[in-house]
């Protein structure tokens, strides 16, 4: 029952983005050009989210203004690199590869008991550090590739893959990113494979999270977009334990979605009563 209900909701989510591409393309063009930049840069992992960002960015800015970086670690899957290369070939983009193995291994050579999580986070931050450095070289704004499912579940590394200047896919659930990938004719191999942060060999997001993206998207949609209570979501056929787990993740990771909390001592404090839109500075 849970599966059927989740799939029904996901179909509805997919349908709802039928008209989203022009909005996302307009967003990228408008919010980038008004900063005085013409170029975008981001990490291209071979996964569906960054592939969609690549296609959107090319539509918004033209291929000469889009700089995806491929940044594998020595244990990264070769298939992911191949998928990323397929995106470049399809869009006529030049390959820019940075192997992060030397700096990551140098650091962990004196951090012997580092967990998978620490290593994964370090790699994500290493990649973002490179993106921001290269953004100066290419005079490009870094684009985020985290979708709404990841942002709500906190499935990402703070100041790593969660960092960006602009994020065109942050209000799209994973299911909706897949639907848009279809609209944009992202290569089939990328659309069909199991999502993976590629943090270690054979890792998949769904194994690590302990639930499927369809279940997560359906529950998140009901809790967040539809403002249902946990009890109401359970009454729709979802397991109480799973709903509880999703809700706990949303709350637990709220800090990742906010700027750092500042101790208020003055009459005008940044983020509290010094309130300006980002576009003020443009």
């Amino acid at each position: 029952m849970q599966r059927d209900r989740a799939m029904d909701i996901c179909r509805k989510l997919e349908t709802s983005v039928a008209g989203a591409v022009p909005v996302l393309v307009g967003f990228l063009r408008d919010e980038i050009l008004k900063t005085g930049h013409r170029n975008a840069i981001f990490g291209l992992s071979g996964g569906i989210d960054s592939a969609v960002v690549a296609y959107l960015a090319v539509l918004a800015l033209g291929k000469d203004h889009v700089y995806p970086l491929i940044m594998p670690y020595r244990e990264s899957s070769q298939a992911s690199v191949n998928d990323a290369r397929q995106v470049l070939a399809d869009l006529g983009l030049q390959e820019r590869m940075f192997d992060i193995t030397p700096q990551v291994d140098a650091y962990f050579s004196c951090q012997e008991r580092a967990t998978h999580l620490r290593r994964g986070n370090k790699m994500a931050r290493e990649r973002m550090s490179i993106i921001y450095d290269q953004s100066v070289v290419y005079q490009a704004l870094p684009l985020g590739t985290s979708n709404k499912t990841e942002l709500l579940l906190g499935y990402g590394t703070q100041f790593g893959d969660l960092a960006s200047a602009l994020n065109p896919v942050g209000d799209l659930f994973k299911t909706q990113v897949r639907a848009i990938a279809g609209q944009l004719s992202v290569p089939e191999s990328i659309r069909r494979k199991a999502p993976s942060a590629d943090l270690w060999q054979d890792q998949t997001d769904e194994d690590e999270l302990g639930f499927s993206y369809e279940d997560a998207d359906a529950i998140l949609h009901l809790l967040v977009d539809e403002r249902l209570t946990e009890e109401e979501v359970v009454r729709q056929g979802f397991q109480g334990e799973l709903v509880d787990q999703v809700m706990r993740r949303i709350r637990q990771h709220q800090y990742k979605r906010r700027m750092p909390v500042i101790a208020k001592v003055s009459s005008r404090t940044i983020g509290i009563d010094f309130r300006y839109p980002r576009d003020w500075g443009m």
Partner: protein, 282 residues
């Protein structure tokens, strides 16, 4: 009665830059004059941008400010309806729209309903307008209601009682709630709204919505005019800046009010008595 040629000035304001926006307004006015329009209508806060927050304090202008007088002066060539943050002598801040004609102000409308929910925070920065009336323009009577004002049916109703052949609705309508349709839920609602009001009040409704993005919020444009029979007179089929001119045949108001005499039959005394009793009962 004759027809009037209305130019829909669907602009993309620069957030917080009154001078740049005033220049753009002047350029649109020039084009509207060249194309033989009788009036050019600009969207809500076209002179300042919408998502102002603390910028409200900086962009506010008195109605006798030289920046504002310049636009009023331009109405010697063509009637101009424009919108900005008005600061009163008592230093209250209003979202206002001015109808200027023959180089002078004919009417000022201060926005009454300030949305302060969801993505909106107008009540935090603006004072609420406290009066409402229609006004005479050449051979017809007009009313102005700014954006959220018309989400309250009492506003067009009161204007209709005051006498209204054309309802001008300057708006900063964000696109949200995507559905299966290529247009957002909010955009579809707006079209239904203006058609319904046009038919019920047997008048023209001129909806002018801004375009562009501010901090990721998308303003969908698609300015439009509905006629007294509830049918669309014309629509700007675009999310981009446009100046488009449509003719309003004022004779069709006469025909429609004879065919469907809703205004003749409207019993304002009944409304007044019942409203007084209901409000007292609360």
């Amino acid at each position: 009665m004759k027809s009037i040629r209305v130019a829909l000035g669907q602009v993309q304001p620069v957030l917080g830059d009154v001078y740049a926006n005033a220049d753009k307004h002047m350029a649109f006015i020039d084009r509207a004059v060249e194309q033989g329009a009788d009036v050019v209508v600009f969207p809500e806060l076209g002179l300042t941008g919408y998502l102002l927050r603390d910028l409200t304090y900086q962009v506010a202008r008195r109605i006798d400010d030289p920046d504002i007088e310049k636009l009023i002066g331009a109405s010697q060539r063509i009637d101009v309806l424009f919108s900005f943050v008005e600061e009163s002598a008592a230093h209250r801040f209003y979202t206002c729209s001015v109808y200027a004609s023959g180089g002078r102000v004919i009417h000022v409308h201060r926005k009454i309903y300030l949305p302060t929910y969801g993505l909106f925070e107008e009540g935090r920065h603006f004072s609420r307008g406290e009066s409402l009336n229609s006004f005479a323009v050449a051979e017809y009577r007009a009313g102005i209601a700014i954006c959220e004002d018309v989400w309250h049916p009492s506003v067009p109703y009161l204007l209709s009682v005051a006498g209204m052949d054309v309802l001008y609705v300057p708006a900063a309508g964000p696109g949200r709630a995507l559905g299966g349709d290529p247009h957002s839920g909010s955009q579809l609602f707006w079209e239904r709204l203006i058609r319904t009001y046009a038919q019920l009040f047997t008048c023209y409704v001129v909806f002018v919505n801004r375009v562009g993005f501010e901090d990721g919020v998308f303003f969908f444009g698609h300015s439009a005019i509905a006629g007294p029979d509830g049918e669309m007179v014309g629509k700007v089929e675009s999310h981009d800046e446009r100046l488009e001119i449509f003719s309003l045949d004022l004779a069709s108001i006469r025909k429609e009010r004879y065919r469907t005499p809703l205004l003749r039959d409207e019993d304002v005394h009944f409304t007044q008595r019942t409203l007084a009793r209901l409000v007292e009962g609360q």
